[in-house]
Amino acid sequence: MNGLRGLLAEFAGADDVLAATRAARRAGYVALEVFSPYPVEGVAEALGFRTRLAWVTFVAGLLGGAAIFLFQGWVHAIDWQLDIGGRRSFAAPAFIVPTFEITILAAALATVFAMFVKNGLPRLHHPLFAVPAFERASQDRFFLFIGADDPRFAESTVRAFLGSLAPLEVHDVSR
């Protein structure tokens, strides 16, 4: 292996990169990644990628809500019982407000936390940032990346393949 991390093809339009991604999948490449300045519809499907983030939201909300509900019950019925005119100390309806709020809070924080962790962010340095043209990935250009860790990766073949997709340019990404 030389110092190459992969090859990066630059495109001007979202449709171009989408077509290129589908072509790369058909050609059997798997170590693919697409970079775009906005979420391009269909690219995630073309990469065969799905996220299960909603489960995190659901479970975290459930756990957060249950925890604060039981906690309030424990506080008022067991640990710090106050007899106020003989009212029942396990006043479930009154516990609903904090329960609701903590459900939302736990679900939201867990969702965001899981999103960043699964994305491997924060990661301030990345080999892609060494490619000067890559700064337009956050502005108006679209990129298809084929990694050197792909089992079918051979530099000359991949370079020729990417060239056949009519990109603006093909950049080397070093390690």
Partner: protein
């Protein structure tokens, strides 16, 4: 109705991706507004100093320096709290509910409205804490294990309020930041030197990878769903502060929906108050068009009609309850001591907004601006009527009282206004005020469809 062909257009001209980037990044980096910005932030800085003085006063002499006294234990601090937290709601509605409803026009104004939400919540949150009597012990509202061995009273609306506002503030901040990360990456890639490094840190190394986008968009949608529940719940819980009590004028079942509608109503008024001058100042008329203002005005009118229904329901149930104390308060509102205030509120919040049925009024920037100021004032006065007039009235003439804010009350209100403007100005100077990545998607979709 607008012709079908026009319905896809939410920008003036045909900007491409680069034009949008240039325009939005330009608002942050351009020297054109630097001098006026410096003047504005210096003035707002005086407001922040006023707030610091007002807060110092409360910590030093306690709430006795405010005009609160038996029987009016809640002064304009609570009026201000309800008003500020209400204003926040429009930002969340724009960013969350309109996202779920797939309204393309939210994309030009959601970032701005969310920033408004954040700073309004910060202003709102100060008031109940300062009003605690012993503000230095505000953290006693948190359920944390302590040597006294006691816990917050979870049956108390004050504790509910704390949970509601704290959750609202946190979720709003997270929602805003998640949407901001891709735009911070753009700022990083278009800046140099120290600026690029600072933006780079806050962008967390965002690369725009398709997998990242997919998770990001899913998380954003999930957050929108969660925040939608907050749009309707936060002011509901604020209304419980009143509705749970027995006081005439407070103990009403219509309060939760009526408060939520009032919140959205005043929030849209504040969106217009801020958006109209800012879009002219920053040169964003091409992205925030007259049509955006028109749609804000429509939603404001809708919320205003629900508020009008709330007034009517309050009057009706006051009468229908047969409760002599409720009827006394009603008489006071209609033709008694609080009548001038009540009818002024009706004029500002019910009569004037009816002008929005006419397209000419919705398309007149000057009228929208004047009307938005009138509604902001009207909604503030409405909360005065609810909080203070009800307490002044009480149950019997002998238990009534009178309240007028002191210098310190006004200083706190003026201080939060300065604080709010100060942070809005900082936001406009350092953060792209329009969600570029969302607008790029909008423009690209239109081009694709047009092609």
């Amino acid at each position: 109705m607008t012709p079908r062909v026009d319905s896809e257009r939410w920008t003036e001209g045909e900007p491409d991706l680069a034009a949008i980037n240039d325009l939005v990044v330009g608002t942050v980096q351009s020297p054109r507004t630097r001098r006026s910005w410096l003047v504005a932030i210096a003035l707002a800085g005086l407001g922040v100093l006023a707030l610091a003085l007002a807060v110092f006063g409360v910590f030093w002499w306690y709430v006795g320096i405010w005009g609160v006294d038996t029987p009016v234990y809640w002064g304009i601090a609570i009026t201000n709290f309800v008003w500020w937290v209400g204003i926040a709601h429009a930002g969340t509605l724009i960013s969350a509910i309109l996202l779920l409803a797939e309204q393309p026009w939210r994309r030009s104004i959601n970032r701005f409205a969310e920033a408004m939400t954040l700073f309004a919540i910060a202003c709102a949150g100060m008031f109940p804490l300062l009003h605690l009597g012993r503000p230095e012990f505000f953290y006693w509202l948190l359920p944390y294990p302590n040597t006294y061995g006691y816990w917050p009273q979870f049956l108390s609306p004050l504790v509910w309020d704390f949970f509601a506002v704290a959750t609202y503030g946190t979720v709003s901040l997270v929602f805003w930041y998640v949407g901001l990360v891709p735009d911070l990456a753009t700022m990083r890639d278009r800046s140099t030197g120290l600026r690029a490094r600072v933006y780079g840190v806050f962008a967390l190394g965002w690369r725009g990878s398709a997998r990242h986008w997919e998770r990001h968009q899913t998380a954003y949608l999930l957050l929108a769903g969660l925040a939608t529940t907050l749009v309707v719940s936060v002011h509901t819980i604020v209304s419980f502060d009143f509705a749970i009590a027995q006081l005439p004028g407070w103990h009403t079942t219509v309060f939760p929906p009526y408060f939520v509608a009032g919140a959205i109503f005043s929030g849209f008024a504040m969106v217009l108050t801020l958006l109209i001058p800012v879009r002219a100042w920053l040169g964003l008329r091409a992205l925030v068009t007259a049509r955006h203002l028109d749609y804000c005005a429509r939603l404001m009118l809708t919320a205003g009609l629900v508020v009008a229904y709330g007034y009517a329901a309050e009057l009706f149930f006051g009468w229908y309850s047969g409760d002599p104390h409720e009827r006394d308060l009603l008489a006071s509102h209609l033709h008694g001591r609080s009548a001038p205030l009540f009818w002024l509120i009706i004029g500002l919040n019910v009569v004037l907004p009816q002008s929005l049925w006419w397209r000419a009024a919705r398309r007149s920037t000057v009228w929208l601006f004047v009307l938005s100021l009138a509604i902001n004032l009207g909604m503030w006065l409405e909360r005065w009527l609810i909080v203070i007039s009800s307490l002044e009235h009480g149950f019997l003439p002998t238990t009534g009282g009178a309240y007028w804010p002191t210098f310190w009350d006004w200083l706190t209100l003026a201080g939060t206004l300065g604080f709010f403007v100060f942070f809005m100005l900082l936001f406009l100077r350092f953060v792209p005020a329009i969600a570029m990545s969302e607008l790029r998607e909008l423009v690209a979709e239109r081009r694709r469809r047009g092609a």
